[in-house]
């Protein structure tokens, strides 16, 4: 238990150990720890950033999808409108054409009828004149009574 030369030996050992630790043990160990801490910190920050970016991209994609959907809906709506319009127009045109054709037919029929009427009238007139000629041949000439015949024809 007495203090003796061991004290000096231990003091030297202590100094050597501390010196060795300071020179060769502490700097690489602590350096590695601090460097790793920094690396982990950077990694965490990067992962946070990536997560943020991902969220941003997701939001953007969602917005774009929404826009595309609304655009598609608009286009479909327009197409439908256009289709209705075309059908309406075509129907209208068809109606008009039918009316035209019918009207034309009517007028053709009318013209034909008039023509036939005229023919008939003329034939009746000529028949009447022929009849009248036959009757009157014996008493008057055609020229003297043509105005009466004309009047008759107009009345037909």
């Amino acid at each position: 238990m007495n203090i003796n030369a061991t004290l000096i030996g231990e003091l030297i050992a202590f100094i050597v150990f501390v010196w060795f630790c300071m020179k060769y043990v502490w700097p690489p160990l602590n350096g590695a720890i601090e460097e790793r801490q920094k690396k982990i910190e950077d990694g965490l920050a990067a992962s946070d950033q990536a997560e943020k970016d991902l969220q941003l991209a997701r939001d953007k994609a969602t917005a774009q999808l929404k826009e595309a959907k609304s655009q598609a809906a608009e286009i479909i709506e327009q197409a439908k409108k256009r289709a209705t319009q075309v059908v309406d127009e075509e129907t209208q045109r068809g109606h008009e054409e039918r009316e035209n054709i019918i009207a034309q037919g009517h007028s053709e029929i009318e013209a034909e009828r008039n023509r036939v009427k005229e023919d008939l009238r003329k034939q009746v007139a000529s028949l009447a004149i022929i009849g009248a000629e036959k009757i009157i041949e014996r008493e008057i000439n055609e020229a003297a009574h043509s105005d009466i015949v004309e009047k008759l024809v107009a009345e037909l």
Binding site: T6, L11, F17, V25, P28, L29
Partner: protein, 277 residues
């Protein structure tokens, strides 16, 4: 086994005696004696500490560390944290010093948990077998270096030298002398001041010298008492095992705590020494 060891006192005395080698032929010269067991165990454990931590330092990478690596780095970070919390200057020495003290003292204290008779018995058998001694009783060995006052005093003296070194480096020689002589009492009157200087000096000197003494005696006293109780438990015979276990479990606390206290006080003292007030 020699007859002397059969008595309780002989047994205890045997366990508390260092294996010594005299450096001179003069038997009255008690200073020039080496405690070989203390030196061997402490230096061996110090080398183990440096070997373990140097190995970890060599293997330290930026990648994922292994479990052993993590354990070593945990100790390093723990010490580093304590140093950063307490010591506010910049120093390349304090942290490695604290690490060395903490782990080295811890390893030396840890020897206390090895059953008290185990290593001395092996040493005795080896001594007898090699023909160096006639009886195993002639081999003396204390395996816990921190139960030797020489070792704890050496550590405390190293710390004391650093305290003075830091005081002078930060405050200058005059600053250090002023700190020793002008506190805690000071007066405007120069005559009164001159009278107060010796009083101040005595008080401050006691404060300063009490630090290494308390450091060394605290560690020595705790471990010596612990060791003594282990020896007493080992001496009671058949019922020693449960008692031994209980005391060992309790002693685990003491071992870590004393290593931690020694480290912490070292940091605190050096921090005080390097602050200018």
């Amino acid at each position: 086994m020699a007859a002397e060891e059969q008595t309780l006192q002989g047994y205890i005395k045997h366990h508390l005696t260092n294996g010594q080698v005299a450096l001179t032929d003069d038997p009255t010269n008690t200073f020039m004696v080496l405690n070989v067991d203390t030196l061997a165990w402490s230096i061996g454990l110090g080398l183990i500490f440096l070997w373990i931590f140097k190995g970890a330092a060599n293997k330290a990478t930026l990648g994922v560390p292994g479990k052993w690596q993590c354990l070593i780095e945990m100790v390093v970070e723990f010490v580093d944290q304590n140093v950063k919390d307490t010591f506010h200057g910049k120093s390349r020495l304090i942290a490695p010093l604290a690490l060395t003290i903490f782990v080295w003292v811890f390893l030396m204290n840890l020897m206390d948990l090895i059953p008290v008779d185990f290593l001395p018995w092996i040493a005795g058998q080896v001594g007898v077998a090699s023909g160096a001694v006639e009886s195993s009783h002639d081999i003396y060995m204390k395996v816990v270096p921190t139960t030797d006052l020489n070792l704890t005093a050496a550590l405390a003296l190293g710390v004391f030298a650093l305290i003075i070194f830091y005081s002078i480096r930060v405050k200058g020689v005059m600053g250090f002398v002023k700190e020793l002589t002008l506190n805690p009492f000071s007066a405007k009157n120069p005559v009164l001041q001159a009278l107060l200087i010796p009083i101040n000096f005595v008080m401050e000197a006691i404060t300063l010298i009490a630090r290494p003494i308390s450091l060394s005696l605290r560690l020595f006293g705790n471990l010596y008492a612990g060791e003594l109780i282990f020896i007493l438990i080992a001496a009671i015979g058949l019922f020693q095992l449960p008692l031994h276990f209980v005391w060992a479990v309790f002693h685990i606390l003491v071992i870590v705590l004393q290593a931690f206290i020694f480290m912490m006080l070292t940091i605190v003292y050096l921090s005080l020494a390097s602050t200018d007030h």
